[in-house]
């Protein structure tokens, strides 16, 4: 087993010290304002502040070597960085998405700006390092900020690889992912036992299973949470489109359903960020704008979920 239950204490301590050194008077999971008003939350393990909205790349960035579509993805990335975004998430499973991101980073000279989150996705752990190296070349970066075991695949061995890389300074953070609410029981066990910086799972205003155990557990263990499929790959937005936003959405600063959903997600104190994917510059701006004040408190979050539930 790859877990290091005792190592966590040291890492948490280090994280706390770094947070203190960064002058963070707030606890690691509170939202803080940064220049440009994009709200950030600190990665519990290291105290690094990350914007509450990141960028996914499943389907949207899988465009092959089509120059037209590569340029349009680069435009999305440009708007993302210009709006204060940092985390981009990808995987070797996503076709050419990693190469698309690498293309955009090179065009925009944004290697310093990005928080690069990728995954290892193989049932043959011996192939993990070569896969990670191929991914790194696609991104065109010296190293990843975060590497995650994709979908719990061969997770013990793959996580051991990532932890060894972290120890050697070849990656900053390690994590594990699931989606669609799959394998939450196994994930709970992993969160309890393994030395992780991040967990990525599906969480949004209708998929709220994670609220019961995983989010509180992640918070307790000092593990950052990345919320994937915020819009259920757009199905959720299609379902809500045409239905009225509540009057009080304006008070929340949510002008669209996308913003309403994102504000719900990122206002959960355990969530580090949500990572909506998009092909559109206007959508990336709209999504980033959701990571601004005001965010709902617990009572308002309940009201938001009830409202959507009733629809």
């Amino acid at each position: 087993m790859a877990s290091e239950p005792h190592a966590l204490t040291r890492r948490q301590l280090l994280g706390g010290l770094l947070a203190l050194a960064a002058g963070a008077a707030l606890p690691p999971c509170s939202a803080v304002a940064e220049p440009g008003d994009i709200l950030t939350r600190r990665v519990p393990a290291t105290g690094e502040a990350l914007p509450l909205v990141g960028l996914g790349s499943w389907i949207t960035f899988n465009v092959g070597d089509d120059p037209l579509l590569l340029a349009s993805c680069t435009a999305v990335m440009a708007a993302f960085f210009a709006g204060g975004g940092r985390m981009i998430d990808s995987s070797p499973m996503y076709g050419s998405s990693q190469a698309t991101i690498g293309h955009g980073l090179a065009e925009l000279d944004a290697a310093e700006r990005v928080y690069a989150a990728d995954k290892v996705w193989t049932s043959r752990p011996a192939e993990g390092p070569a896969q990670i190296e191929a991914s790194r070349r696609d991104w065109g970066l010296p190293r990843f900020d975060l590497l995650q075991v994709h979908n719990l695949l061969a997770w013990e061995e793959n996580l051991a690889t990532l932890q060894a890389m972290r120890a050697a300074g070849e990656v900053r953070h390690v994590g594990i992912t699931t989606s669609h609410g799959r394998r939450h029981a196994a994930l709970e066990r992993i969160l309890r036992e393994a030395d992780l910086d991040f967990v990525q799972l599906t969480y949004n205003i209708v998929d709220r299973e994670a609220e019961r155990r995983l989010l509180p557990l992640a918070r307790e263990r000092g593990i950052g949470v990345i919320a994937n499929r915020p819009f259920q790959q757009k199905r959720l937005i299609r379902r809500l489109e045409g239905k009225p936003l509540p009057d009080w959405a304006a008070e929340l600063g949510a002008a669209t359903w996308a913003q309403f959903i994102l504000k719900f997600i990122v206002s959960h104190p355990a969530v580090s960020c949500a990572i909506p994917a998009t092909t559109r510059v206007d959508h990336v701006r709209e999504n980033l704008a959701a990571a601004r004040e005001p965010l709902p408190d617990a009572a308002l979050r309940r009201r938001m979920a009830d409202y959507v539930h009733r629809l």
Binding site: I59, L69, G95, H180, R182, R183, T279
Partner: protein, 221 residues
């Protein structure tokens, strides 16, 4: 909820319809002016199926074998595989089909066409004619424009449908069935993909398989 049945079909689709359409636009741009040549070859194929001789049939089998090899390399491997990693596993099947066409159709007496005008012959000819002359126009009907047309011998669907036409009517039956398997599997795969992308486009490959199997069952041994 960890089981495979918790996946929806659309969860398996890893690219958008816009990217899929652009594959054909870029492929056509890169190959121009191969399209008129491919159409002429397709017309030749239809003529041979109308008036077959042993020699012409061998030529058609060789032409089809070359087309399966070409599409596997130039379209599947070069264009499609980068956006769909599953295609890697399809390329060997295309190579197998090229090999089968060479082995079964390329040698003297390997394939024969029954004389006369049975139902299977008509259906097989219909499939080949559709693949060569009408299938490229589905791109127009679907609003993609001719630039994104799928052309016989350059793109997989019309190639598979035309091959189904041949496989539906040739003798001996066991060779016909052998030549039918890979194109039918491709058409089903393509229909599944297209149904997730834009619904109506899935019908031609799906119907082609149904027609080819029906024609094969009706064909004299």
């Amino acid at each position: 909820m960890s089981a495979w049945w918790s996946y929806r079909p659309e969860d398996l689709l890893m690219f958008s319809s816009r990217v899929y359409e652009r594959l054909f636009v870029l492929h056509n741009q890169a190959l121009w002016p191969a399209q008129p040549l491919a159409l002429a070859l397709g017309a030749g194929l239809c003529l041979v199926l109308l008036r077959p001789t042993a020699g012409r049939l061998r030529l058609v089998a060789l032409l089809l074998a070359a087309a399966w090899g070409f599409v596997a390399w130039a379209f599947l491997w070069q264009r499609y595989a980068p956006i769909n990693w599953g295609i890697r596993y399809v390329v060997p099947l295309f190579a197998l089909q090229a090999g089968l066409l060479l082995v079964l159709g390329g040698r003297r007496g390997g394939l024969a066409l029954p004389s006369g005008s049975g139902a299977s012959r008509g259906l097989g000819l219909g499939l080949a004619g559709y693949a060569v002359f009408l299938h490229p126009l589905t791109a127009v009907a679907l609003g993609r424009g001719l630039a994104g047309a799928e052309v016989f011998a350059l793109a997989p669907d019309p190639l598979a449908i035309a091959t189904l036409g041949l496989a539906a009517m040739v003798r001996p039956a066991r060779h016909g069935w052998a030549l039918l398997v890979v194109p039918a599997l491709w058409c089903l795969f393509s229909a599944a993909t297209l149904s997730l992308l834009d619904g109506p486009a899935a019908w031609p490959p799906l119907l082609a398989v149904a027609i080819a199997v029906a024609a094969r069952l009706m064909a004299p041994g």
